[in-house]
Structures are given as C-alpha cells and as structure tokens.
C-alpha cells in the first residue's frame, strides 16, 4: 500500500464547514492513502458525514481545501468528481430497473459508451455483487440487502477514485450486516478502490477498516489502525469508543520510564503505560480492558462482589463491584474458568491485573 512518497488519493487540509454559527467540521486534516479502507467513526453530529459530503462535493468547505489525487477540488461540483457514494438509504431510482440504475453512471459519460459495452459492464457489476440475472427487476421487488448490493454495483461500475459509504449497513438486520461487512471487505481488496466508510458502529469500523478516524464535535480526535486505537488510545474518549473499557479515576503519583502510577480511591494503585501529556500530580484515569482483569478466589487483588454474569459462549462477562472503585466489567475466558470455576452472582472473590496492563490517560 502507501509507501509515504506517493500522493495521497485524497486529502483534507484544514477543512472547516460552518452553517451560520454552527461548526459542523473544524479544521480537519487528513490524508487518505491509495487503496485503503478508512472509516470515520463517531456519534451522530460529530462531523463524520460532513467530512464525507465534502469529499463527495455536496458540501463546499467554508475554509481549507479538499484535494483529490493532488488536485484542489473545492469548486468542482459532485457530478464532475471521480468519486461515488453509497447512500444511507441507497437512493436507488425507483422508476428505473436494477440494470438501468447500475448503468446510470456510465450513461452520463460523454461520448456515450456503446450499449453493448454498458450491458456487459452491468452484467459484470451484478456478478461482482452476487446478483446475476437481477437486471430486469424493479427496485421495489428487491429486499433491503439486495438493494444495498444494487447501490454498491451502481457505484463501483464507475471505477471511482474513492467509494464513499454513508452508514450503508444501518438499515440491515444484524446477521445480514455481518455478511455484508465481510463482503464489502473482500470487494475492497479485489477491486483495489479506496473505500471511505462513515459509521457510528465501532465494531463495524474495527472489523473492516485499515485505519479509523475517530471524531468528536466536528474535530478529529485520533487516526490510526484498529489495533493502534485499541492498544494506544489517546484519551478516555477513544478508549471508550473503541472496545469496552473500565475507567478508574485517580491522581498520578509518579511517571518514569514509560510507566506511571495512579492512586485511586481506597489506596488502590494502578500501574500502567501513560499516554502523552500525563504528568505527576494530575488527575487522570486508568483504562483497563475487561479481558485484562481476572477473577480469582486467591488472596491477591482487590476484593469484589459479583453483581451479574452474562454467558457469551467462549467468554463469560462478570459485572463486579468494589466498595472503592464501584462497578466494573471482567471478561473471563473458558480456559480461566476451568481453573477457577464459575462465580455466581453474590459470590465474593478478588480481581487482579498485571502491573503495566493498564493505560493511564488524560481524562478527556
């Protein structure tokens, strides 16, 4: 993929979008690599859709620049951008057949491509999205999942430089969503088109993306690979958004050699890796993933009472309570259970974690 020297396929440079006094996107800087699968992740109203719409050309940035393949495209209207979008509710044309929907993009080209060429491209696109022979159908005869494939085929047939996906899975049920995620990922690898996905579903972003751009209040909080974000979140917001985590508040007592000590309520100490900007004497939080904590009947660790237990198959998730830290989650694998046995709700035990497992983060 990107080796750092080639021009990024698309770039946002200090892109800002204001609607009157409201700032939908504030000085976004992002460079999108050729052929990657990038997701904008954040809650609704965080500016992720605005970012996508600026790339598509539906919104013109109030300040800053949008670049496609090194060219400034701020003033290029959507119909002249080599970018295609899969809309949230697909936006298929109800008065056209499936085949005519898919052929729409090709038929706008001047000079018009010959009919035979369009037909074979449509057939190929239908094959790609695994709907061969569905061309003559009407849109309303198709199920939600099929409509989404049609929307996808309608976009990829144009071989866009960027394929933008605006919460494309929001309207699908869970099972279908999962199948579609796998399919999208496979499709992206085979086609080599750069995919940009907007989603509020962290699992979706984590499972599909090469990189994730986490947004809040119109700003980019952190950009990185799913693993980066999971292992090295910049702050509490990212740690909370990417995967489940427990947060314990405390005061930083010492920072040295890539390790920090946090004193929490009741004299409980947590030692872990500090994130940037954590300094001695400050209030901070420790982030511990549920799977980093184990539940034992031994003497080590902090005393807890089991409040609730959820069986998840390979894992069991316990909600436990400590008088000082309050409630938190512990994820116990079947293997660990074999040694320690099940804990019943109401039972007491001890929660332990390895020194250094935690992350010490700024509380924002």
């Amino acid at each position: 993929m990107a080796d750092g020297t080639e021009t990024p396929i698309a770039e946002l440079r200090a892109a800002t979008k204001r609607y009157g006094a409201v700032v939908a996107a504030r000085s976004l800087d992002l460079s999108i690599r050729r052929g990657e699968f990038l997701s904008f992740l954040g809650p609704s109203g965080c500016g992720k859709t605005t970012a996508l719409r600026m790339l598509a050309g539906f919104e013109v940035p109030t300040e800053g620049e949008i670049l496609l393949d090194g060219q400034r495209v701020n003033d290029l209207p959507p119909h002249r951008r080599p970018v295609n979008m899969v809309f949230q509710h697909y936006a298929l044309f109800p008065h056209l057949s499936v085949a005519d929907n898919i052929a729409y993009g090709l038929r706008q080209r001047r000079p018009r491509p010959p009919a035979a060429e369009v037909d074979s491209a449509v057939a190929k696109a239908l094959e790609t999205v695994r709907l061969p022979g569905f061309g003559p159908r009407r849109i309303w005869e198709m199920s939600g999942g099929q409509q989404q494939r049609v929307a996808l085929a309608r976009a990829i047939i144009n071989e866009p430089k960027l394929l933008l996906l605006d919460e494309p899975m929001a309207a699908l049920d869970k099972k279908l969503r999962h199948d579609m995620q796998i399919e999208l990922q496979t499709l992206q690898r085979t086609l080599g088109i750069t995919f940009i996905l907007v989603t509020h579903d962290q699992e979706e972003a984590l499972s599909m993306s090469d990189r994730i751009c986490i947004m809040r209040d119109g700003q980019i909080v952190q950009v990185g690979s799913p693993r980066d974000l999971y292992d090295r979140p910049k702050n509490r917001y990212v740690a909370d958004f990417v995967g489940k985590s427990n947060f314990f508040e405390g005061t930083v007592r010492a920072v040295e050699g890539g390790s920090a000590r946090l004193d929490c309520a009741g004299g409980i100490r947590v030692v872990g890796r500090p994130s940037e900007g954590v300094a001695t004497g400050q209030a901070a939080i420790a982030s511990l993933r549920p799977e980093q904590i184990s539940l034992t009947r031994g003497e080590d660790g902090i005393p807890v009472t089991v409040v609730n237990r959820i069986f998840l198959g390979e894992h069991t998730e316990y909600l436990v309570r400590n008088p000082d830290l309050g409630q938190f989650l512990v994820l116990s694998s079947r293997q660990a259970e074999a040694g320690e046995g099940n804990f019943e709700p109401g039972e007491t035990g001890r929660a332990r974690w390895r020194d250094g497992a935690a992350l010490i983060l700024k509380n924002d």
């Binding site: 598509a56 050309g57 539906f58 209207p77 959507p78 119909h79 002249r80 970018v83 295609n84 979008m85 809309f87 949230q88 509710h89 936006a91 298929l92 044309f93 109800p94 008065h95 729409y104 993009g105 706008q108 080209r109 309303w140 309608r154 976009a155 144009n158």
Partner: protein, 272 residues
Amino acid sequence: MRTYAIAVYLFLYIPIGVIAIFSFNAGRHAAQFQGFSTQWYGKALSNPFVMEALQTSATVATVSAALATVAGTLAALALQGVTGRPRIIFDALIYVAVMVPGIVIGISTLIALVTLFDFLNPVLSALWPLAGAAPKLNLGTGTLIAAHGLFAMALVVIIVRARVSGMDRSLIEASADLGATPWGTFRQVTLPQIAPAILAGFLLSFTFSFDDFIIAFFVAGSETTLPIYVFSSIRRGVTPEINAIGTMVLAASLVVLIAAQAILQRGRRRET
C-alpha cells in the same frame, strides 16, 4: 349522525341522478318519464350549436390546461429554492387564487381585460404598419384560455409541489454523484418522479376549464362554451337534450378525475 350523512348525500346526488335518468327519457318533457330511449343523445350530438360549443370548450380546456401545466410545474420547481418570508407570501397567494370565488375572478378579469383592450386597441391601430385596419383585441377564445390558464396554474402548482416536496432529495444527489449534469438530473430523475403529478395537474386543469361556467360567462365575449350553451338553452326550458349533454359532460369529467386520482395514487405507491 348517520342519518344526516345519508340525507346530505341524497340531497347532493338525487338531482344529478335525475338528470342522468331523464336524459334517457323517450318523451320530450323533462318532468315525466315516458320510456327508455337514447334519441336525445343522438339529437344533442347532431346539433351544430352543441358541437360548436363543444369544440370551443375542448380547445380552451386543452390549451389552457397545457399552458397551466407548463407554467405551474416550472413555478412549483422554482418555489423549492424559495424559503422564509417570500415563500410564505407566495404560498398564501397561490392558495388565495384557488379559494377566490369564481364570480370575483370573472368580474375582475373582465374589468382588467376590457381596460387593457381599451388602452391597447388605439395604440395598436395607430402603430399598425400594414395596409388595412389593425386587428382589434377582443374577448373570445384567447381571453378564455388566459383566464382559465391562470386559475388552473395555481391548481397545478399545489399538486406538483406536494409531489416535489415529498421527493427524496438524496435521489437528486445520487444522480449528481453518478455524473449527471443538473439538466441531466432534471430530465432523468426529477421529471419521471413528478410526472404523475404533472399529468394529474393537467387533467384537473382540463376538467376545471371544461366545466367552468362562471369565469367563462364573463370573459367569453361572443364565444359559446358548452356550459354557456347549456345555461342559455335552459332559459328556453329544460329538455332531455340538455340532460343528455349534462350527463355526457358529467361522465367525461368523472373519467378524467378518476384517471387523475389513479395516476397520483400510483405515483405515491411506487415511492414506497
């Protein structure tokens, strides 16, 4: 409540039913049924005055509906971009145009046209460059078309705009995203989407013009439309021939109205 409703419906529809029944009367009196016959239909259709009035009505209705549909559709599309106070003013004016009583429209249109012609005709004859007398602007088919077209335009705006505002905006964005120019988007997406409303607007305008008596009465000049013909014949007594004409106009109007409704419904159902 139910009895009231039935009474209201009977009161509304019995006279219409009576007209339809008596149009098949074999006798020549309107008040006494003397056996079944379709002779009055034949008489009506072979009456040259009726046929001439019918032709005038059809011409006026077709042309005014066509003009109203084009202008009304364009207005409905343009009004999409108008917001805030100007929008409220435009909306109010359009609804008022539909609600103003026909007689008021008739009188005011007549006064406006006569004043205009009184001013224009001398100017025209003074400036006429050719030999012979200048044509004199007068009340007639043209003024009928203008008056009906103007009123029907408000109808078309209301019908088409309901459809335009109910249209999924993302379809237009999708079309642009796929490379269609604004004109291409209009032709390939917007127009097919609002076509049922445009057609329905045309049909409603047509029936409005075809059935209208009040406005036509004021601005027709020496022309006779079918409703005006019926009105003037009634002064000579109601004959089964008038009943036959009334029944035919009613049937034609109903067919067109039902067609318009069906088209609108179909368009709505397809959307979902």
